[in-house]
């Protein structure tokens, strides 16, 4: 039935996904720098290639040609494993992301669960990297990253439970298919729960916090902890961390798109396909960049207060409300 053997198909998909993740990391840096530049009324990178488009290439070459030395006193095994531990789960999560109805590496029924399972692993990378670095700033950063991730996993998962109650499936492709046009997007599905836009915001804020992005970038708060857990990493070790970070951002935004913004579906029900998915995805990523260059960093207790005093109560209220709505209607 299928002309290509399943294994070969998977290998091709995986290669493409790794390429996608790497290219995204490279060009998101460019988008970030260019966006930051224009927000700050300067132009950002412009020398290498037209509009500085080859800048990521130059950066990549620079990182790759740098010596990979081990600072004194680091744990040699963990120090090398840590960047991989951050990148691999992120790439693995791409496997279940439906880029379009058919363009999906592995359309499994528990896709949503798998993504969150992997999302919990990637914090291990930061923790191990910070610990193995034998640097006080890095250890503080690692501790921050873990407590932050634990705190934000709760409201995020409560929101996801709400979503699963509404969609009644964990298959990402099916979730997308339930949202054929803008009025049926879950972000505006007031029939499911009047708090749906709030749930979307909570989920988005949590994914910012989970991916250590500003204003929640406490783990690499450069004015306090230099570069946090990555302080000691030279060359490509740092590069892989960086790729993992950006891959996580892409995953976070992709899941938000799928859950709330109708994935590859067109807002107006016309010509659904991967282009819609990518358009929505990059719009969200741009928002992430925009937020980063607007706000100062939150303080640690403010971060936890926000989670425990605002996000968790509201997401719980949303959960109860949704349950009641399902029961009533």
């Amino acid at each position: 039935m299928n002309p290509i053997p399943e294994v070969l198909r998977l290998v091709i998909y995986l290669t493409c996904l790794i390429l996608f993740a790497a290219l995204n990391a490279a060009y998101l840096v460019w988008v970030e720098r260019k966006g930051a530049g224009h927000i700050q009324r300067r132009i950002g990178p412009k020398e290498v290639g037209p509009f500085g488009l080859l800048q990521p290439l130059a950066d990549g070459i620079k990182l790759m040609t740098k010596q990979l030395f081990l600072p004194a006193g680091v744990d040699p095994v963990l120090f090398k494993v840590a960047p991989i531990l951050l990148l691999v789960p992120a790439v693995m999560s791409f496997v279940t992301i439906p880029f379009s109805e058919t363009l999906v590496a592995r359309d499994i029924n528990l896709g949503l669960l798998m993504i969150f399972a992997f999302a919990s692993v990637n914090v291990l990378g930061v923790l191990i990297g910070g610990w193995a670095s034998n640097n006080k700033y890095a250890v503080i950063s690692a501790a921050r990253a873990v407590s932050q991730n634990v705190a934000y996993e709760i409201p995020m998962l409560i929101t996801v439970i709400t979503m699963v109650m509404v969609t009644q499936t964990m298959n990402l492709n099916e979730i997308v298919m339930q949202q054929p046009n803008i009025f049926k997007w879950y972000v505006f599905r007031f029939t499911a729960s009047p708090l749906m836009p709030v749930a979307f915001l909570i989920f988005f804020i949590c994914s910012l916090a989970e991916t250590n992005r500003a204003p929640f970038d406490l783990a690499e708060a450069e004015s306090e902890l230099i570069a946090g857990a990555y302080t000691e990493y030279p060359g490509m070790g740092f590069g892989v961390f960086f790729m993992g970070e950006y891959a996580n951002i892409v995953i976070g935004c992709a899941v938000t798109t799928i859950l709330f913004l109708g994935g590859w579906q067109c807002p107006f029900g016309l010509a659904p396909g991967w282009w819609w998915f990518l358009a929505k995805l990059y719009l969200l990523i741009w928002t992430v960049v925009w937020i980063r260059w607007t706000y100062p960093r939150v303080q640690f207790y403010a971060l936890l207060n926000l989670s425990w005093k605002v996000l968790i109560p509201i997401s719980l209220v949303n959960l109860l409300l949704t349950g009641a709505m399902i029961k009533v209607f």
Partner: protein, 372 residues
């Protein structure tokens, strides 16, 4: 967040913040004894760019020390020029023409705004917001252009001379200054929208880093640090020098004692400085800009003299001990941040690292001025 009780048995570790660290804005080193993320003891270690200006002063004539003054506080160099020039004028009994005094006020207030703008940007950068820094630089750049047109340099000015100023201003400077003031007036609401009213910033600064009035007196903190703790103390009003009594302006005072109060003091001071400049330009008298009877080799009568000015960071004092020769016998420079930073150790005890850095940023450190 000082309710955290430090236990004696817990293990602490020592962390070096600096001498190269993004938050110290220069080569300051703070030896932190930390208990987890809590600061048990923060001990500033100074002297990384100590240049012994006081000894240099003893070895050169009064006039030759002028360029040194601009190199202590590089952000508000003109106030330091002013302090030294005024002290020597007081000692030698030189009268300054009125137009020169007005020019000094205009330029030093412009310089004060530029200093506060840079502080504003750098402070928000300490708190993790990068964009306001570049907006502030955009405005500061206009001031530097204006001052470059008058003084010839952009950062380490050497514009004041004993008995006047180096040269007269042209009309385009006055026009440009007025244009700049109307520009900054329209930009300040933007700063307030982007930063001051931002909930994240409020959460980070409100009730953080309290400096009670008692601590201000004990440590001799001056400037915005004292004014943020409820002291109505500004030498421009308290010890009116130059032509400041001619102008109508207010001293912003906040009684909250926290980092937010110090932040607000500086933001409000910019507006007051603009008011002073506007009035000074309107009232600017005609006349010479340099006193006629300034002897070539200054020999102030023996004795000691003190003179202080209000710099952007507090009161800068110059104590001169003259022995009647053409070089100072002793030249003491009292820099405000030196006293302001000395309270950091006591004020930061038991704080979280990020809060301690917010407190340090709100003190507005300029390291060359501390180390002298």
């Amino acid at each position: 967040m000082s309710e955290f009780a430090l236990s004696q048995t817990q293990e602490t570790f020592v962390m070096n913040l600096g001498p190269q660290h993004p938050a110290t804005h220069g080569v300051l080193r703070v030896k932190l004894t930390m208990d987890g993320e809590y600061v048990v003891r923060a001990e500033p270690v100074l002297g990384y760019i100590h240049r012994m200006h006081e000894k240099m002063g003893e070895n050169r004539t009064w006039a030759k020390f002028l360029p040194n003054t601009g190199r202590m506080d590089y952000l508000h160099a003109l106030a330091y020029n002013h302090g030294h020039v005024m002290a020597v004028e007081r000692a030698a009994g030189i009268e300054v023409p009125e137009r020169a005094e007005y020019l000094r006020v205009i330029t030093t207030e412009l310089n004060r705004i530029s200093s506060h703008l840079l502080w504003f940007g750098a402070f928000v950068l300490d708190l993790g917001g990068f964009t306001p820094l570049l907006y502030a630089f955009d405005d500061r750049e206009q001031i530097l252009d204006l001052l470059e047109g008058v003084t010839g340099s952009r950062l380490t000015y050497c514009y004041y001379r004993f008995g006047g100023v180096y040269n007269d201003v042209e009309d385009d400077f006055l026009v440009g200054t007025k244009a700049f003031i109307s520009r900054l007036r329209s930009r300040l609401p933007m700063y307030h929208g982007l930063v001051t009213k931002n909930i994240i910033l409020i959460k980070r600064l409100k009730d953080i880093g309290p400096i009670p009035p008692d601590m201000v007196t004990r440590y001799g903190a001056t400037g915005p640090v004292a004014r943020g703790s409820g002291f109505n103390f500004d030498l421009r009003k308290n010890e009116p020098y130059s032509v400041y009594p001619e102008f109508d302006f207010d001293i912003p005072v906040y009684t909250e004692c926290d980092s937010m109060a110090r932040y607000m003091v500086r933001m409000d001071e910019m507006e007051q400085s603009m008011r002073i400049i506007e009035q000074a330009i309107d009232k600017l008298p005609e006349g010479p800009v340099k006193a006629k009877k300034v002897p070539k080799t200054l020999k102030p009568p023996a004795g000691d003299y003190y003179c202080a000015v209000e710099a952007a960071r507090g009161s800068f004092g110059v104590r001169i001990v003259s022995d009647g020769t053409n070089t100072p016998y002793r030249l003491k420079l009292r820099s405000p941040t030196y006293s302001n930073l000395s309270l950091f150790e006591e004020a930061s005890e038991g704080m979280l690292l990020a809060d301690a850095l917010a407190l340090m940023g709100s003190l507005d450190l300029v390291i060359p001025e501390i180390d002298r």
